[in-house]
Amino acid sequence: MNLHEYQAKELLKAYGMPVPNGIAASTPEEAGKAAATLGGSAWVVKAQVHAGGRGRAGGIKIVKSSKAAGDAAQGMLGTRLVTAQTGALGKEVKRVYVEAACEVAREIYLAALIDRSLGRIAFLASSEGGEDIEAAAAATPDKIHKLVIDPKTGLQDADAKALAADLGLSGVQADTAAKAMASVYTAFIENDASLIEINPLAITTTGELYALDVKMIVDDNAIYRHPEFEKLWDEAEVSAEEIEAHRHELNYVAMDGNIGVMVTGAGLALAILDMLKDLGGEAADFMDVRPVATREQVAAGIRMLLADARVKAILVVTMGGGVLRCDTIAEGIAIACKEAGGHVPMIVRAAGTGKELAELALNNQGIKVTFADDLADAARKAVAAAKGGA
């Protein structure tokens, strides 16, 4: 689960991370008032959407009066912000964050994340932060410093200070940076984060240190022990389809094609997407059914595909295992098709546990599907059907 910038900053502030004072606003009036309340002579108005690259997309404006703050908010609220990370559709701006501006002398990159190959929390840091960090990291990987944390000892102050020194910091600034790292580390652990990225961590012209932008992701698998995150969940960030899928425990990602796809298993689903593309087809979605799925959940997924106007053919690939059986999938297909009608060709490839039962169930109930023999056959038939050839 992604947090908004203002949510992440509020959270980190409670752990002692220095952040500029700011107020979230959902109307231009609130934004103007926020600037007045914060005081000072310059503010930053920032669109609150879950995507990077907001600056270049016009989602971050520096203003010099509370009226200008309101105007900037007016220009953002209700629009769809399209950044390099949002896709062409962009994301609707429902809230802005108004923050006291500061004079930045240097921008540092600091992130805490899970190092997958070591199975530990690690800090990545660079003395050259800012919007171009990804390109910079690719061009000069030696400028990225890494500090891997032993979970038995936690973050050691000496290691944090050494990392600060690698970033070219000394004296009080190094101490402050080390403290900031400790705040991030504690927040990471206590909130089951999988990423806390501060970019930039700014050093102001007066020598102070502030987290100017924060991206934070918390581990979906650990949400059960953090009921407090429930109220931070922003449904506006997620499509209606994704919410519906989530309700039925299906992993769903919308794609751009016209072949509706349901697959048992994420790896196999990725493989199917690749095969369709190789054959000149394009999936409308990625939908992964978990092994513990019920026929009702499967029916809900098929219903979603049938309701998708873009979908010209549906491909169901199921590999029955020791937990999920093909006949469960077949029952789900039958439930959905009986209600919604089979108005698009459906190709089913069933293999593994319950294969014969699945084929029998669909045939007996008069559900019209085309059975495929193997993966390649299934992909070919789906691509042909979507093109109107079957």
Partner: protein, 292 residues
């Protein structure tokens, strides 16, 4: 003879009395797996599937001397179950549980260091040596004893490879699911080493997917490995959008790490034979083994 498990492997099940565990252990017993007992806190002293149930792993180890444990424990308690197995010095722990918090796995990974335990998973379908022993949730039917070792992150892609190698009369020596989670136990490299040393294994199918760097690390290992056994690799997700999470597969990758193209390139450069798609893992292996 296969890797990790054999006909003599004595197996414990943590969480034995749960519905899924019960069903799968029944099937494992029918398959020939030597189940020796279960561990379920609060149910010590009972009997389930004609097996003794113990309060703790330590007690079960004392009484039944198992070589391996199958962990079917809900996510919130799974890390504690794995750590208990590690502390009881079980040689092999196979964790099937999915959706375990990743920071719990960081703790488990730390407990594994310097321990006597090999961990498979979590979020793994398990390990099977066809007609000899199975520990996990995989369907038995497509498996057949044979020449190919299979190691994968995805369970269903693993079954595809099993299905294909069975259809092509190659069969499997052992098939291993290392699991789809970001932090996990045995790696591709650990399994490749065992397969290379195993007499029954003539070639290995390695199935990767987007996210992380496990495939790149396997490629590094292959570069210096002395084995002449062919490795056929397939990596899923070459057309996946890089900015969205695709089920368990894609997770947070900063700086563009984890894309399929880089993995395929690394594996190919290291001498692996790349299967062009998921339907051709078996045929690619047959060709590599000199078949028509």
């Amino acid at each position: 003879m296969g890797i990790l498990i054999d006909a003599d492997t004595k197996v414990l099940c943590q969480g034995l009395t749960g519905a899924t565990a019960t069903r799968l252990c029944e099937r494992a017993i029918a398959y020939g797996t030597r189940m020796v007992g279960g561990v379920v806190p609060g149910k010590g002293g009972q009997s389930h599937l004609h097996l003794p149930v113990f309060e703790t792993v330590a007690e079960a180890v004392r009484e039944t001397k198992p070589d391996a444990t199958a962990i079917f424990v809900p996510p919130a308690n799974a890390a504690a179950a794995m750590i208990e197995a590690i502390e009881a010095e079980l040689a092999l722990a196979i964790c099937v549980t999915e959706r375990i918090p990743v920071l719990d796995m960081v703790r488990v990974k730390s407990a594994l260091e310097g321990s006597k335990t090999r961990l498979i998973g979590p979020n793994s379908q398990g390990v099977i040596t066809p007609d000899v022993c199975k520990i996990g949730v995989m369907p038995e039917r497509p498996h057949t004893p044979g020449r190919v070792g299979i190691v994968s992150r995805s369970a269903t892609l693993n079954y595809e490879a099993v299905d294909q190698t069975t259809t092509l009369h190659l069969g499997q020596s052992t098939s291993v699911g290392i699991g789809g989670d970001p932090v996990y136990g045995m790696s591709f490299i650990d399994c490749l080493k065992l397969f290379f040393a195993d007499d029954a294994t003539e070639g290995v199918i390695l199935i990767g997917e987007i996210g992380g760097t496990a495939e790149e690390e396997a490629a590094e290992f292959l570069k210096t490995a002395k084995s002449k056994k062919p490795v056929v690799a397939y990596v899923a997700g070459i057309n996946a959008p890089t900015d969205r999470r695709m089920g368990h597969a894609g997770t947070v990758d900063v700086f563009g790490e984890g894309n399929a193209a880089a993995k395929i390139e690394a594996l190919q450069a290291a001498g692996a034979i790349i299967a062009p798609n998921a339907a051709d893992m078996g045929t690619t292996m047959r060709k590599a083994l000199g078949g028509r």
